[in-house]
């Protein structure tokens, strides 16, 4: 050892390699840490209060699972609704739809709660081996605005190690071990459970404490997944989902309705409907950046949604949704979520005329398709 250290040439080479490793780390670490900086979300004209999820369950206070709950209170009697974006942080249309509601919506009756990053920890990292970019940007009239593209699951920095088999606490259902960090397999959650189960418990507590009438969980799925461009509804929410479907079809928005499977446990549309009084629904749009058949995975795929591999798969009849050369752009996926949310609110109003939620000032499906989402996002900068 001493001889080697005395070998000046060898010592210099060692110091050089170590310095190169440190130099690479000095670039890589700050870049990775940008994922821990929350995106700027502006309070729109309808936002009356910004709370923390830990206000409803202090077991997540001070952790990366705590997140903002935007409250848009009309001040008029009506129903209360909760919109969950970012349950899976690699499904950006749900996240951006929630942001659009925060920055644009003005409730005319009832009260709206919006959580844009339901699993805030999942926003702090990307999925291994997927090659997804950390961020994507949307052009707004005042310049590009950046958003994080995270992971399906809680960061292993917050919950580790994964068991070989994940056992859902209240049902005993057995799933792959990595699903232990999936928020949408953890409902209704446990106060003394894992990090992810505690986030789920906090959301369930919010629904119970605020007496939420309608809960909408916004998701995306790959084009080869059977449940896509669809509403998945708890059995008590099937009626309003069906009414919403009819209204959407009349506006030429093709969508399906699926009943929440009784034997698939831990999901929001099943457990929140069973454990609380809320009408639980989950929406799925089509995200080619998530699929196994995709080609180059980059920001363009996330935002523009064009992919030659999916085009070929569609021609072979392997997909569950139409997929043309125009792809499935983020604008269209957000437009679909926003319109479906509004259609569900309208359907609820038709069923409960004396207790409903009306959300105004939101762009329509055609406006979002025609203008894109950029004009409806506020400029970058401090909130």
């Amino acid at each position: 050892m001493n001889e080697l250290l005395k070998d000046r040439k060898n010592l210099l080479a060692s110091v050089g390699v170590l310095a190169a490793a440190v130099a690479i780390l000095s670039v890589v670490i700050p870049d990775a840490l940008t994922m821990r900086q929350p995106d700027v979300i502006h309070k729109g004209p309808g936002v009356t209060e910004v709370r923390k999820l830990s206000d409803f369950f202090d077991g997540i206070a001070g952790t990366r699972g705590d997140t903002e709950v935007y409250v848009l209170d009309s001040g008029k009697p009506g129903a209360s609704a909760l919109i969950l974006g970012g349950t899976h942080a690699n499904e950006p249309s749900g996240y951006l739809s929630a942001v659009l509601f925060i920055e644009n919506a003005v409730p005319a009756a009832g009260k709206l709660y919006v959580i844009p990053t339901a699993n805030a920890s999942a926003m702090t990292h990307t999925d291994y081996m997927e090659g997804t970019p950390r961020k994507f940007s949307i052009d707004t009239p005042t310049g590009p605005r950046s958003f994080r593209y995270g992971s399906r699951a809680t960061s292993p920095a917050d919950q580790w190690p994964d068991p070989d088999i994940y056992v859902h606490a209240s049902s005993g259902q057995r799933l792959s071990g990595s699903e232990t960090r999936n928020l949408n397999r953890a409902y209704p959650g446990r106060a003394d459970g894992t990090f992810t189960e505690r986030i789920a418990f906090a959301i369930t507590s919010l629904i119970r404490k605020e007496k939420i009438d309608i809960t909408i969980d916004l998701h995306e799925a790959s084009p080869e997944y059977p449940v896509v461009n669809a509403i998945v509804a708890h059995n008590r929410a099937m009626k309003i989902a069906s009414i919403a479907l009819l209204n959407l079809e009349m506006d030429d928005i093709a969508i399906g309705v699926e009943p929440s499977p009784a034997n698939l446990r831990g999901l929001s549309h099943r457990e929140l409907g069973d454990a609380t009084e809320t009408l639980a629904l989950l929406f799925e749009s089509t995200n080619p950046a998530q699929g196994r058949l995709r080609g180059v995975t980059n920001e363009a795929l996330i935002v523009q949604g064009k992919d030659d591999m999916y085009l070929a798969a569609h021609k072979l009849g392997r997909l569950f949704v139409p997929f043309g050369p125009e792809g499935e752009p983020l604008n269209k996926r957000v437009a679909r979520h926003v319109s479906t949310t509004q259609a569900v609110f309208d359907a609820y109003a038709s069923e409960m005329p004396d207790r409903h939620v009306v959300v105004g000032a939101m762009p329509s499906y055609k406006e979002l398709l025609g203008n894109g989402i950029g004009p409806y996002l506020q400029a970058s900068g401090s909130p």
Partner: protein
């Protein structure tokens, strides 16, 4: 559990750094340097 994991990673970093300085083969020195990068990030809990 996480503390034990990080302790193991720190020990691995020390051993690999020692290997980097004692190894005569330059290609293996570079190997050691490359392995240090993800290990350092794991020790800092950056994923």
């Amino acid at each position: 559990m996480t503390l034990i994991y990080r302790l193991i990673v720190v020990v691995a970093i020390i051993l690999i750094t020692m290997e980097l300085f004692t190894q005569k083969n330059f290609a293996l020195k570079i190997n050691a340097g490359l392995v240090l990068i993800p290990l350092a990030m794991r020790a800092l809990m950056i994923v």
